[in-house]
């Protein structure tokens, strides 16, 4: 954030540079599966590493330029664990912003998606009270940026303000295939998000809606195979395929932060109308600031809101030479349906502001997996048992410069 080339009479510096990062380790008591902080990470804590530095560590750099009093540009590059376990940097945001009036702006390029309360700052540990935002809600929409246009309008109403943001765009999302070096692609098109943020004093309320057409080509062969089985198979394919499927997200967030303490709560629902299932997630969190130390507790939960099992093709109507492949298709369908996350987590921890731009956090999590669910765990091993519980120990240092 050190301004350079600043002239005395400039309203703001021409260029500003800054950066942020987190170095941290995560330990999981579940050694037969990996805990990761997002579905984009290939390897995690538990199975791959006893203590993993790859789950939470991240570094980002940003340059912003005020090209004219109304036109500005921002470029942010981040290095964090990718779908292929590398830390190859990627461009998180790159956009041009035109400030038509102090309360109305338009951005073009790659911009942040702000569906959740800290969605756009989820990578910036220093900006948040916890080691990570509760994954029960935040993993419901993994995409953090959108390539397109967004407009933001702020309305002042006495002591309150209301900011309405519309984002239209598309995005690509790469994810790792568990227990392999392979990866998959999700293509997100025609994405429209509407976010309304009402702020009054120490209180903030946010309503979010997002819709997008999503295609995950990895599922195409499965549903093509189902479609070979006539009307019954075509019906299953139509119900579950994820080829240009309309996915909706609805969310509500509330936050009250008078300074000495804070409480926040968020609730969200994803309707995928597909093999990815429908889910509902929420959390409530609170903290109390004692000098430079902020202890906090959080309770978070995610549940499927759609079936996690489907009887699939009726094998009794099929000749033996077709029953075997049909059974395999049914198994493949249910293997994915059963992965719709169900889990709940209690967290307790503390943030210690060591110096002005560095904090240290310790967070303990206890997660209970829903019946027959693996939750958000990945890379499950033969000895893994669904529906069990596990503990995490997280220790991180966050910094900004």
């Amino acid at each position: 954030m050190a301004p350079v080339a600043a002239l005395a009479d400039d309203p703001a510096p021409m260029f500003s540079f800054g950066g942020f990062g987190t170095l941290g380790v995560v330990h999981s008591s579940q050694h037969s599966a990996d805990f990761t902080s997002s579905s984009a990470e290939a390897l995690g804590a538990g199975y791959t590493h006893d203590w993993s530095a790859a789950v939470q560590s991240i570094i980002g750099a940003q340059v912003a330029a005020n090209l004219t009093p109304k036109l500005s540009a921002v470029l942010q590059v981040i290095s964090q664990q990718n779908y292929d376990a590398s830390f190859r940097p990627h461009v998180e945001w790159a956009n041009l912003k035109y400030q038509f009036t102090p309360d109305f702006s338009l951005r073009v390029g790659r911009t942040a998606l702000g569906l959740f309360f800290v969605a756009d700052s989820r990578n910036i540990g220093f900006a948040n009270p916890w080691v990570r935002p509760p994954i029960e809600l935040y993993s419901m929409v993994s995409v953090t940026s959108s390539n397109g246009i967004d407009a933001s309008y702020r309305l002042h109403m006495g002591a309150a303000s209301d900011t309405f943001q519309v984002t239209v765009g598309r995005a690509d999302y790469k994810y790792p295939v568990p227990n392999s070096n392979a990866s998959g692609d999700a293509k997100i098109k025609n994405q429209i998000s509407l976010v309304d943020t009402y702020e009054r004093g120490f209180a903030t309320l946010r309503l979010s809606y997002d819709r997008a057409h999503v295609t995950i080509p990895a599922f195409t062969p499965l549903f093509d195979a189902f479609s070979e089985f006539g009307p019954e198979g075509i019906g299953i394919a139509d119900r579950y395929n994820i080829n240009d499927r309309l996915i909706n997200y609805y969310g509500i967030s509330a936050n009250y932060d008078p300074g000495a303490w804070f409480v926040m709560a968020e609730w969200g629902r994803v309707d995928s109308h597909s093999i990815l299932g429908d889910t509902k997630g929420w959390y409530v969190s609170g903290g109390y600031r004692v000098g430079k130390v902020t202890p906090f507790v959080t309770y978070a939960q995610v549940r499927p809101d759609s079936n996690t099992f489907d009887p699939g093709l009726n094998l009794s109507n099929l000749p033996p030479y077709l029953a075997a492949p049909a059974a395999a298709l049914n198994a493949a369908l249910n293997a994915t349906l059963s992965k719709v996350a169900s889990q709940r987590t209690v967290s307790a921890g503390a943030r210690w502001d060591v110096i002005k731009n560095v904090d240290l956090k310790l967070q303990l999590d206890h997660t209970n997996l829903g019946a027959n669910s693996q939750g958000f765990l990945t890379n499950t091993q033969p000895g893994f048992r669904r529906g069990t519980g596990f503990d995490l120990i997280n220790l991180t240092v966050d910094f900004v410069f």
Binding site: A127, A159, K356
Partner: protein, 141 residues
């Protein structure tokens, strides 16, 4: 013999006048004496310095000028107007900056520079020690 009494009366008047103003006690919020703004609530001052409001209530643009990071008056100012400790202010701006939503106010090294900048700029708003106040700036009440 009357001089000390007179002085203390003046300082008493000054202190009383500042109670309930935008930033009470030692640090006061100021605009240029050429500004049309005469009063702001504490919440409005906080909104301007935290980038949530870019105009004064009368519609003229508001350009906040900050003291550099690490100044004791800056730390006091943010505790008083926004209830935020230096670490919370830093965390707040980290969130705004690294989500591309804005930049913190321009910062200058000391009160003299704040006063000079505010005095010369009718849109500016700053904060200085109350003993620095002279007729080039107006204290917001």
């Amino acid at each position: 013999m009357t001089t000390p009494a007179k002085l203390s009366l003046q300082s008493l008047a000054l202190t009383l006048g500042l109670i309930g103003s935008a930033a009470s006690a030692d640090v006061v919020a100021v605009v240029s004496s050429k500004s049309t703004v005469t009063s702001l609530t504490v919440a409005q001052v906080a909104d301007i310095f935290l980038g949530r409001m870019s105009r004064f209530p009368n519609g003229t643009p508001a350009v906040p000028v900050d003291l550099s990071d690490g100044s004791a008056e800056r730390d006091e100012f943010y505790v008083k107007v926004a209830g935020k400790t230096p670490a919370q202010v830093k965390a707040y701006w980290s969130k705004i900056i690294f989500t591309g939503r804005g930049q913190p106010p321009k910062a200058v090294p000391n009160d003299f520079d704040v006063k000079k900048y505010v005095a010369a700029n009718p849109d500016a708003i700053g904060y200085i020690e109350e003993k620095m106040v002279d007729d080039t700036v107006r204290v917001l009440r």
